[in-house]
Structures are given as structure tokens and as C-alpha cells.
């Protein structure tokens, strides 16, 4: 009985494999002939809408600059599975590897292997901090100054340029948060924001419950508060719930003359309901697809030897404008996107 069973299984497996193989072998043979550049993007993990947005930027660049683009991402966000993917992609003969690394140091060796074979390595959305020599360039979404300046400008606009506001942040030692808050404070010292007053900064530790408690405390402790700025998605979502319950948002059931304007940073998917209910008029985030587009463009141009990076120089990017090549070839995609009722339906991440 066993003797009969085993060949059957073997046959079933071969049959199971062949439908996968036929379309793939066709694509390799059709593209293998010409000299099109092959680029792969490896996200932190698959199935995350944020990275899908980055991928859409790569696709746009691929269509515009005519390179072959594919993506391959681990099912969970760990560095060792990214390492295996990189090895396979080196063997596949890719020319550019773009990656959102899951570790700042575990990929050093395999990326060195890739670069020794002439592959251009570009980090997207996250960098190999401290190990910058193992990649060619990094594209990060937005620099501190852009985030801070855009956030305070939006807060000021929503508050009509004057009044008391508070910041609801994540943790006291989150580097990003503190850098943005420092930039916001330095902007507040300039004459254009002279009528705005930051009354306090509170920390919700990026936990929903703690953020909600802090937001409630702000409402009771500062009766004349006109605005809350929460540059973290957890804080913004929690504060939006508190405001929705208390009804103190502009146009809400308990809105007095000084209704609370709430804004901050988050992804459109997380804020859709709050924006549609009118609790949050508008908020901001960078557009991840611009990072993908810029990384695709840079990878293509560097591999084609049409572009040499030089620290401190500037790069002209079609459809995007000029970007600065910073220290360690760190490039910011900039600018911030502002979401409100009119455009939030167009985004899905």
C-alpha cells in the first residue's frame, strides 16, 4: 500500500508546483533579454497599508522611468527573514534593493555582499542608524523642522491665530516627539505665533487609556483651552474619542465659544471617522508614497550612473522638486500632507 502511495504524493506535488512555475518562467524569459534595471522593495512586513502606500510610489516610479519592479516582504517584521529574502534577491540578479530594515545592524553583512556585486542599496522609511556605510542612501519621510513647522502652522490656523493650547505627546523620552516639540516651541517664539500660548505638555505614553485620561484632565484643568495638538496617532485617536464624548469640539453639542480644536499626526485610516464626525477638522502626516517614489528614482538613477550622490548637494527630482542630500546621504522626501473632509477619502493607509 505504501509503495502505491508515495509516487502518488510525489506526482501531486509536481502537479501542484507546475501552475506556479509556468507564468513565472514566461516573465523571466520575456524580460531577461533587454537591459532593464531590476529593482526589489522589501518592506518591514507584508499586509501593512502604510507599506502598500510606499509600494504605490515605487510602482509610479517604475512606470515613469521604465524599470522592472517587484516587492517581497516577510510575513512578520523580523530581520532574519529579510536577510533570507535579500540573499534570494541577490541570486535573482536584481540591480537595486530598496528596504525598510527591521534592524539597524543585523543586515550589515548581507547588504555588504549585495553591494560587492554592484547592487545599489537604498533604505526607505527607516535607516541603518549607526551603520550608514552599509547602504548607498536612505530616504526618510520628513525632517524634524518640516514636521514641527507644519504642525504649529495647522494648529494656529485652526485656532484662528490666538489662544491657549496644549500638547499631548507619547513618552517623555521619545526622540521624534521631543524633537518636534522643540521645533514647535522655537516657532512659538517668532512674532507670527505671538498670540498663541502653549499652556502645558502632557504625556499619554502611546497608550489609549493613559492618553484619554490626560486629554480629559486637560479639559477640566484648562477651562479656556482652545486647542490640543497630539503629534502621535495613539494620542490623537484617544483625544478624539474624549472630545466626541464630551461634545466640546467645534459644532459639537456642548461647544461653547471656545470649542476645542484638535489636531496632530496620524494615518488617514485611523482618523476617517473622527474627521467625518467633525471632531477633528484636519490633521497631518507625510505621504509614504513619496518616499517610495523618491527611493525608486534614486535607485534607478544611481544604478544607471546618471546620478552621483554628494553630501550637501541637491537633487532635482521630476514631479517632486528639489531634495537635499544630507549627511550620510540621508534624504528627506518632505512635504507634509494635510487631511480634511475633502481629501481623506482618497487615501487608504
Amino acid at each position: 500500500m505504501k509503495k502505491l502511495f508515495l509516487p502518488l504524493i510525489a506526482g501531486a506535488l509536481v502537479a501542484g508546483c507546475s501552475p506556479v512555475s509556468s507564468p513565472n518562467s514566461k516573465t523571466t524569459s520575456s524580460t531577461g533579454g533587454d537591459q532593464q534595471i531590476k529593482m526589489v522593495y522589501i518592506a518591514k512586513s507584508s499586509g501593512n497599508p502604510y507599506f502598500n502606500q510606499i509600494e504605490s510610489g515605487f510602482k509610479k516610479a517604475a512606470a515613469q522611468f521604465h524599470f522592472e519592479y517587484s516587492t517581497q516582504s516577510p510575513t512578520s517584521a523580523d530581520a532574519t527573514s529579510q536577510l533570507e529574502i535579500i540573499k534570494d534577491q541577490i541570486q535573482r540578479g536584481v540591480d537595486v534593493i530598496a528596504i525598510s530594515p527591521n534592524s539597524p545592524d543585523a543586515l550589515d553583512q548581507v547588504l555588504d555582499q549585495a553591494r560587492s556585486k554592484g547592487i545599489v542599496v537604498i533604505c526607505v522609511d527607516d535607516d541603518l542608524t549607526g551603520n550608514e556605510s552599509h547602504r548607498d542612501a536612505a530616504v526618510l519621510p520628513c525632517d524634524t523642522k518640516t514636521v514641527g513647522d507644519s504642525q504649529i502652522a495647522l494648529m494656529s490656523k485652526l485656532m484662528g491665530g490666538s489662544g491657549d493650547f496644549a500638547i499631548l505627546s507619547a513618552t517623555t523620552d521619545a526622540p521624534n516627539q521631543n524633537a518636534w516639540i522643540a521645533e514647535i516651541k522655537s516657532q512659538l517664539a517668532t512674532p507670527q505665533y505671538s498670540k498663541l500660548k502653549l499652556v502645558t505638555t502632557v504625556y499619554g505614553n502611546d497608550e489609549s487609556q493613559k492618553s484619554a485620561t490626560e486629554a480629559e484632565a486637560l479639559l477640566t484643568d484648562y477651562p479656556h483651552l482652545k486647542g490640543i495638538l497630539s503629534p502621535t496617532s495613539v494620542g490623537l485617536a484617544s483625544a478624539a474619542q474624549v472630545l466626541a464624548t464630551s461634545g466640546e469640539y467645534p459644532g459639537g453639542p456642548h461647544a461653547s465659544t471656545d470649542a476645542i480644536q484638535l489636531t496632530g499626526l496620524s494615518t488617514p485610516n485611523q482618523m476617517k471617522k473622527a474627521v467625518q464626525n467633525g471632531v477633528v477638522a484636519s490633521f497631518q502626516l507625510w505621504d509614504p508614497s513619496i518616499s517610495g517614489y523618491l527611493a525608486g528614482y534614486l535607485g534607478y538613477m544611481i544604478k544607471e550612473k546618471k546620478l552621483t550622490l554628494s553630501e550637501g548637494g541637491s537633487i532635482e527630482v521630476p514631479n517632486l522638486g528639489t531634495v537635499e542630500d544630507g549627511k550620510n546621504n540621508l534624504i528627506y522626501a518632505g512635504p507634509m500632507l494635510t487631511f480634511d473632509k475633502s481629501n481623506i477619502g482618497n487615501y487608504n493607509f
Binding site: L13, S21, R92
Partner: protein
């Protein structure tokens, strides 16, 4: 013994399929150097073969490997010599394996529950010690996968030697026969004089030692240690052993089958990776393979059971008329 060759035949079939799928696949040098990635899980599978043949299961192997890797990395950073760290990894692996074995054999707890516990404990300890940061391995200890003899990387050679030694241990020694006896029928083995408690402890210790060796190879290959190294590899190791023809009920299994099955998984994963098949599809194929292997290995028994249930149903149906 024939069950072992299922994986071998499938490996050859896969090589043929993948070489047709992508021209870059059939590159001897690439296949051999790339297989260093699978050596660590291969070592886990060698130990797991003993554990499964002895009728037990060890879910803690990958956590154990990660914990030893983190501790060894800290020692290296403190300036320990390579000899000291190798010695430490072997002893630590043996000790952590012994903890599993002691709880299973002496306290008579089910190995599934014991190792489900130590899976969390060992990984938790690694995370408690290192936190989210990674420890960099000193330069002179990094890159064992980059050196080798005659183009074959050292980890692959080491794996081949250990596979041969453990194969002899399982199939050619008294200890090996005790392991099989313990897994086939524990009380019968005990009454016929097999020291089943000691056998059970020994298989867990052996697995721990092999995982300790795997830990060293892993940190040398990656150049860093993190608490989340090798996460989920306990299931990969079990898959390899079962596809290699071992019975999850114990008493059956071969080292050759495990090695061939490791080759098969290596070829399938590498082949699909080079052909750019998306990872979720890769997982699906590996999962289907596991189920088919279990069917193939237990096919005759399943068929017999199905037949007997059908005949009993028929006799039941014919009763009223007769």
C-alpha cells in the same frame, strides 16, 4: 527506512522544477553557500529527531537557541575567548535541555506543556537580559559562514559531521535502540530494562547541546544577537522531522530522513525565493507539504482504519434485513 527517501525524491523533483522556473536557481556555489542559512534549524531538527522518536516534543528549542546566543554574545563582548564561549554554549545548552528533561522525566509532566512553558521562559529571559537592543559580535568571531573547505562553508561541513554522528547514535547504538523502544511503548521498554527516564532526559540534553552549537553559528553568521533570533523555528524543526518520515506518535524516524527533508525545505524555500514567489504562498506550499507527508507516512494505517470502519458500517446496515 523507505519513508526517509520520500523527501530525497521530492528534493530531486524540486530541483528540476525550480531550475525550470528560474535560470538563476541551478548554481551549485549559490545553493551550497546559501544553505548556511538552514544549518541552525537543521541542528535543531537533528535533536528534534531524537525527541520525537522518543515519543516527546520540544517546543522550546528555538527559544533555547536564542537565549544561548544572547548570553554568548554578552560574554564575547565582555572579552571572553572563543574557546570559553564555545564551552559556555555547550554547557548552557545542555543545562537548559536538562531542565526540560528533568521536568518531563522526573516530574512526569507532558513534554508538550513543559516545553510550551520553557518556550516562553527562555525567550522571555533573553528579552529581559537584552531588551529590544541588539548586541554586536566582536569582529574576529563573525563570518564562520564565509570560510570553508573546497568551497563548502564550515557550518555546512560541521552539520554534515554532526548529522553522521547523530545518525550513528540513533541507528547503530544501544542508546539509539533505547530511544526507539521508549517511543514505541514506554512501559514495555521500562519492564524490559530500558532506563526510560534517563533516555528522556538524554534526548532533551542532546537537543539543548545541538541548539547551543546552532546559537554560535547563528551569531557568527549574523554578526549580532537579538532576543528574537530564530523565532518560530521550533515549528520549522518539527516540520522537517515529520516530513523526514518520523512518526509524531514516537518510535519511528530516521536521521537520513531528517537530513533529506532539510534539503527539501532548503531547496523549496530557496527555489521559491529566487523565483520571487511571495512569502505567504511559500508558507502555504510548505504547509501542504507537511500534511501530504503525514498522509504518506501514515497512509497505510489510515486506509486500514477507513476500510474497517466501512466494513463495520456495512455489517451494521445488513443487520435488520438479516
Amino acid at each position: 527506512m523507505k519513508k526517509a527517501w520520500v523527501a530525497g525524491i521530492l528534493s530531486l523533483v524540486s530541483i528540476f522544477v525550480f531550475s525550470r522556473m528560474s535560470p538563476e536557481f541551478l548554481d551549485w556555489h549559490f545553493l551550497v553557500t546559501n544553505s548556511t542559512t538552514y544549518v541552525e534549524v537543521g541542528l535543531l531538527a537533528l535533536g528534534m529527531t531524537f525527541v520525537i522518536v522518543a515519543g516527546q516534543i520540544d517546543l522550546s528549542v528555538a527559544s533555547l537557541m536564542a537565549l544561548v546566543a544572547c548570553l554568548a554574545a554578552l560574554l564575547l563582548k565582555k572579552g571572553a575567548s572563543i574557546e570559553e564561549v564555545v564551552g559556555f554554549a555547550l554547557v548552557a545548552g545542555a543545562f537548559l535541555g536538562y531542565v526540560n528533561g528533568f521536568l518531563v522525566a522526573k516530574l512526569k509532566l507532558p513534554s508538550f506543556l513543559v516545553t510550551l512553558g520553557t518556550l516562553a521562559v527562555y525567550r522571555g529571559m533573553a528579552q529581559a537580559i537584552l531588551g529590544p537592543r541588539s548586541v554586536e559580535i566582536p569582529h574576529q568571531f563573525v563570518g564562520i559562514d564565509q570560510v570553508g573547505v573546497a568551497g563548502i562553508p564550515d557550518p555546512v561541513l560541521l552539520f554534515a559531521i554532526l548529522a553522521a554522528v547523530t545518525g550513528l547514535l540513533l541507528h547503530q547504538t544501544v542508546f539509539g535502540r533505547w530511544v526507539v523502544a521508549t517511543g514505541s511503548n514506554e512501559s514495555a521498554a521500562r519492564y524490559s530494562g530500558v532506563p526510560t527516564e534517563k533516555v528522556k532526559i538524554a534526548v532533551f540534553v542532546l537537543t539543548g547541546v545541538l541548539a547551543g552549537i546552532g546559537a554560535l553559528l547563528m551569531i557568527s553568521r549574523l554578526g549580532v544577537a537579538r532576543f528574537d533570533l530564530a523565532s518560530g523555528q521550533e515549528l520549522d524543526a518539527i516540520t522537517i522531522v515529520v516530513v523526514g518520515g518520523a512518526s509524531i506518535m514516537g518510535g519511528q524516524g530516521s536521521m537520513l530522513g531528517t537530513v533529506l527533508s532539510l534539503c527539501l525545505i532548503d531547496i523549496i524555500k530557496t527555489g521559491m525565493g529566487v523565483a520571487n514567489v511571495k512569502l505567504p504562498y511559500q508558507l502555504t506550499v510548505i504547509g501542504i507539504l507537511l500534511i501530504l507527508a503525514v498522509l504518506a507516512i501514515n497512509g497505510s494505517e489510515l486506509l486500514a482504519r477507513w476500510k474497517s470502519s466501512r466494513t463495520s458500517q456495512q455489517s451494521f446496515k445488513s443487520q435488520p434485513s438479516g
